[in-house]
């Protein structure tokens, strides 16, 4: 707000209005209310970004963006790759965000899946995902899955 105050002192009224309106209408990572109010949101989706570290956590846990952190850009790309790979491999099975945690050289990937396919198939996919991602990212990968009976189990609220 300090910044906006100084800004309004220098700028004419019209621009001032524009800046404020941008500030108010941030849309990123906020879900739009549906007309019928029946859009399901998970707990993670329900919190807008400023609630991270207050009521919800990060989706990627690593130290790349800290001071002297290594490979920040590559890590971001890798994370995106992992997310796309998993949502594609586990087609229509992932019911939550994919949380990627990096510790030393290990990447732990956590998610909630739906119990739609048989357990043996789930195990097959676990083995496949872990192994192929290991080959790709060249480090040990561990999947940490929880299962729910259906998607409604992870709905936090409807908007």
């Amino acid at each position: 707000m300090m910044f906006l105050d100084t800004l309004s002192r220098f700028l004419p009224a019209r621009s001032n209005y524009l800046v404020l309106s941008r500030f108010k209408h941030v849309q990123a990572a906020r879900y739009k209310r549906s007309i019928k109010g029946n859009k399901p949101l998970t707990y993670e989706m329900a919190g807008p970004p400023h609630t991270i570290a207050h009521i919800k956590g990060w989706n990627s846990w690593n130290t790349c963006n800290m001071l002297d952190g290594l490979r920040p850009a590559e890590t971001a790309i890798d994370d995106e790759f992992i997310r796309r790979f998993i949502t594609g491999t586990w087609h229509d099975l992932i019911a939550s965000e994919i949380i990627i945690k990096r510790q030393h050289n290990i990447i732990r990937i956590a998610a909630i899946t739906v119990q739609k396919i048989s357990v043996t198939k789930i195990y097959f996919l676990i083995g496949y995902t872990e192994e192929l991602l290991s080959y790709w990212l060249q480090c040990p990968i561990k999947l940490e899955l929880q299962t729910v009976e259906d998607r409604t189990a992870v709905v936090f609220k409807y908007i």
Binding site: N105, V119, T120, F124, G127, T129, E130, E131, W136, Q138
Partner: protein, 661 residues
């Protein structure tokens, strides 16, 4: 989670700092008083020592599934079949990924990891376009990939590149050790764990590839020396090509070569097939041993094991025990300590005779109890299973069995259990002996500990456990055992169900508290429902027997569960064709009595209807009992007479009047 760890870590580090401060203080004081500090010698640690130390603080948690399974209720296996299927599914997924990488090796050549990790890169394919030299071959031999080594060797030959005799020898060693084919890769742990059961069947079957690469390589060597002979003899003996091995051994002997100790050991093993009869076998062994002695080749552990191995094949001969002891004594002179494999052979030699019981296992236990064991021979993994089997069939002694078990759990000895097949055989024997000899409390202590995550009882063992519960009248454990039976998919095993229901019906004591009575009757209701449900979906094909249902009725009545009892009676009546036999008349009598006592007329009618159909001898007694002991309305009387048949009804009524007058 993470923050928890962090605080714990901080706390820990604070403590260490404090400790450090304290120690520095004391050090200063002590040094001022002139005491010399002994700095311990620096110990060389390898890179994994810390990991090993950490892992030694963790024990197997019996309440959780094995860590190879995912920690989620939906994903945890509950039966032997599921355990196997899940573990192998995961591995097959890994294999799929492996296949994809090998199909598209060009996609996986990027190098992210530093230092580079070989395991993550696709396999190198060797063909004629590769720049190859002897060093490459050496590296491949070091990696022990047999098929690659053979291709590279052939390529080098084609290009007329000279190969030194050392490399040639190590290649021969490699192909002989693996019998010309790639071994199952180290990565496929589950496949190893679950498939080795078949290997037992291959014992003594000749699997040596007689026209394989090893033989060609051996024949291309112009003047094979003693090393080459030693290697090929060992390879042949390892894969049970005994005759050829013995032939080569003789050939080497004629040429006056001194073979390696292990080659002599392999030659000893050939006695199993080459010679027949105990005397000839022993002569064969003696011959080779004198040969070794003359050549100045010392014996080693595997010499001892090979001799004992041959002796097991002639264990019926009374001399073999003497020979075995002699061999052990001889080995002791050379400071050779027998390993588990030797003990395994000893067990086989000494306990072959079922009549003369030998307590050699106790002596063996006395020796190994204090030691931490490591694997020294492939046959080491047979020991624990054999020892437990010995306890069950030979010694029939539960104390010895417990001692064997405590040895198994000590240190890292559990690694010597072998594979899943041997493990389950081990526990099968263990539970069988616990069932035979110990109290229910004792049995349940182990049962709660080991079942279901470490061991899931086979149907025969479940039956034994149920029998033990029956004998001990441990009625409070029936619900638990029933839910376990359901969980292990054993509800379709007729002997188990019969045993369980029989046991329940026999252990009904009027002195039980009402709550236990109710629980039992509820349980019999659930058993009936669960089996019915599974029969409908086709999961269980077992058919009911009259005795089973009769027993269920008894238990239901015992806990005042009249509704279920009537349901079963109706079931008996309706499905007479499918049910084998009929419940005994006593059960029906007790049902009638119960109804009379509590004035359940409708239920009573259903029972009488069924008894009429079956035509029990005591039918008249039942009806007269009803008429005398129950106050019936006119309507009810009419109902009953219609059911029984008016003439017969009047007959019975008259009889009663006659008796009472």
């Amino acid at each position: 989670m993470l923050t928890n760890y962090r605080t714990a870590f901080l706390r820990k580090s604070n403590e260490t700092i404090q400790l450090y401060r304290l120690s520095t203080n004391t050090l200063e004081k002590s040094s001022s008083s002139g005491i010399k500090i002994d700095i311990p010698k620096y110990k060389n640690r390898t890179s994994t020592d810390i990991l090993k130390a950490i892992s030694s603080t963790i024990q197997r948690d019996p309440t959780a599934a094995h860590f190879k399974y995912h920690d989620d209720p939906y994903l945890i296996p509950v039966s032997n079949f599921q355990k196997r299927a899940y573990a192998l599914s995961q591995e097959s997924g890994r294999k799929a990924a492996h296949w994809i990488r090998n199909q598209h090796p060009e996609l996986f050549n990027h190098k992210v990891a530093f230092p580079p990790i070989e395991k993550f890169y696709p396999k190198v394919v060797y063909d004629e376009n590769c720049e190859l030299d002897e060093n490459e071959l050496k590296i491949i031999i070091e990696k022990a990939t047999v098929s690659d080594a053979i291709t590279v060797y052939n390529l080098l030959k084609k290009k007329d590149i000279e190969i030194s005799s050392d490399t040639q020898q190590s290649l021969l060693e490699l192909v002989c050790f693996y019998n010309n084919q790639d071994d199952l890769e180290e990565d496929w742990i589950e496949e190893r764990w679950y498939t080795q059961a078949n290997k037992d069947r291959e014992e003594y079957r000749n699997t040596w590839k007689s026209n394989g690469f090893a033989m060609t390589l051996f024949s291309t060597i112009k003047s094979p020396n003693s090393h080459h002979y030693s290697i090929i003899i060992q390879g042949m003996a390892k894969y049970n090509q005994f005759e050829e091995a013995y032939k080569l051994y003789k050939e080497a002997n004629e040429k006056g070569f001194i073979l390696s100790t292990n080659a002599y050991n392999s030659a000893i093993k050939t006695a199993v097939y080459v010679k027949e009869g105990a005397d000839h076998k022993w002569l064969h062994i003696q011959e080779i041993l004198t040969q070794m002695c003359n050549s100045g080749v010392p014996m080693n552990l595997s010499t001892l094991n090979s001799i004992l191995n041959v002796l097991t094949t002639m264990a019926i001969n009374s001399e073999s025990k003497k020979y075995a002891l002699k061999t052990i004594a001889e080995a002791k002179q050379f400071d050779i300590e027998p390993c588990l494999a030797s003990y395994y052979y000893l067990l086989q030699i000494f306990c072959a005779d079922r009549k003369n019981k030998s307590t050699i296992l106790v002596d063996i236990l006395n020796l190994i109890e204090e030691k931490s064991l490591i694997i020294k021979d492939l046959a080491d993994t047979n020991f624990f299973t054999a020892a437990m089997e010995n306890c069950r069939y030979h010694l029939q002694n539960v104390d010895v069995a417990l001692r064997v078990h405590s040895v198994l759990l000590k240190g890292k000895n559990y690694n010597l259990i072998g594979d899943s097949y041997r493990e389950s055989v081990y526990y099968r024997h263990f539970f069988a002996i616990l069932c035979q000899n110990e109290s229910v409390e004792f049995l349940m202590k182990y049962y709660n500990d080991l079942v279901p995550h470490i061991y899931i009882p086979e149907p025969t063992i479940t039956e034994l456990i149920v029998k033990t519960l029956n004998v001990a009248a441990a009625v409070e454990l029936y619900p638990k055992i029933w839910s376990d039976i359901l969980m292990f998919d054993q509800a379709d095993r007729e002997p188990i169900i019969t045993e369980l229901i029989d046991g329940m019906a026999q252990n009904l004591f009027p002195s039980f508290e009402q709550s236990i009575k109710e629980k039992l009757s509820l349980l019999s209701g659930t058993i009936y429902d669960a089996i019915e449900e599974r029969k409908e979906t086709g999961k269980i094909k077992m058919s009911w027997t009259g005795t089973m249902l009769g027993n269920l009725i008894k238990v239901c009545l015992f806990g005042d569960n009249i509704n279920k009892a009537t349901e079963i009676i109706v079931k008996l009546h309706k499905n007479q064709n499918e049910i084998i036999g009929i419940p005994d008349s006593q059960t029906i009598a007790s049902f009638v009595d119960y109804c009379i006592e509590n004035n359940y007329f409708n239920e009573l009618l259903k029972c009488i209807e069924y008894s009429l159909e079956v035509n029990y001898l005591e039918l008249d007694d039942f009806i007269s009992k009803i008429l005398t002991n129950m106050t019936l309305s006119a309507m009810q009387r009419a109902h009953l007479s219609k059911l029984v048949g008016t003439e017969h009804y009047v007959e019975i009524e008259n009889k009663i009047e006659f008796v009472s007058s």
